[in-house]
Symmetry: C3
Subunit: 138 residues, 3 copies
């Protein structure tokens, strides 16, 4: 049994962004040399998300509008969390989109369906944030 | 350390369906011969879900009504994703219900509480879709 | 390869509660002696959640208000599930908050970002409920 760890760093230009990180996870998998197992990819911060969906810009705009409807950013004062901060909505949005994904590794590759892509969902950006990749297997 | 992989195929009669797949995951676990470890069960498509909840038909009708309230299918034109497609709502519903579950395996069995059952949640059905089962352990 | 299993027991004073269980998961990890791998922490009941977010009381009150908006408890009669029961809302709330978390283990520790804490989210409490910790690795 082997394990492999890698940290990705992001500093997005906007408060909210969706970044396709599939190729970065593939690189880590190649570096690991692991052929069979599982990879965990998770946001290391509680105002961001890692999720799997379609890479389609219209859909990302739909996510933005939809998440703003379910957990609106403003007014900041509607949330008790926002005493000294303004990011309560980011904590809620991340619960809908999820913290992490676990993906099967088969024959040295991400074992994906035809449209699965891994995204980093940032809900409180414009500063240094991290994503953890942990692979276990053999 | 061992691993085991199996793919399940579904073609549901309706656009939205909830199927209890616990017995199919149990079968795969028996085939694998793995006694201790973890099983990942995930939708291989981005308009479907694998989740764990109660097997109760009233609850499934409640899910249907609730998901339609949070991420309504129609009008299709409300979503930018729906240029040539009509399934943006399915991409959103799956974020709420989740892509995957990870279940502990203990003494050769799914290590479940009294009411836990694994479901395939289809949000854009009436065509061939797949679910991946990946087991690692010993 | 090794595995370790532990069950936590809870009986919360209120219908809905958020408990920080990070130290309990850390204890289990120490007991396991596992240095590299993954830990799965999941609710064993379908009206509760295990999730990772910030340990901040204002935020927990925001969760309470927000989940009541998205999946209100009352009137109980709005849900078909509530024939003999009154907890349909708890089944829905748990879908938003999630059943489980998977956390990387690196050098014998939970491999966490600066603010990550593990919570047990109870949505139908005042009775005995359980959380499963399963660790695999070496």
């Amino acid at each position: 049994m082997k394990s492999f760890r890698k940290v990705l760093h992001f500093n997005t230009p906007n408060r909210r962004n969706y970044l396709n990180i599939t190729s970065l996870v593939n690189e880590a998998l190649l570096e690991s040399g692991i052929q069979e197992g599982m990879v965990l990819v998770n946001a290391m911060h509680i105002t961001a998300s890692v999720f799997i969906n379609d890479d389609e810009s219209g859909l990302h705009q739909d996510f933005e509008k939809w998440l703003e409807k379910l957990a609106p950013e403003k007014p900041h004062s509607q949330y008790l969390h926002n005493g000294y901060e303004d990011n309560a909505d980011a904590h809620l949005k991340r619960q809908i989109m999820g913290r992490e994904v676990v993906v099967a590794i088969t024959k040295g590759k991400l074992d994906f369906g035809p449209w699965e892509q891994i995204f980093y969902g940032e809900f409180d950006g414009m500063r240094d944030k991290r994503v953890l990749i942990k692979i276990i297997g053999y």
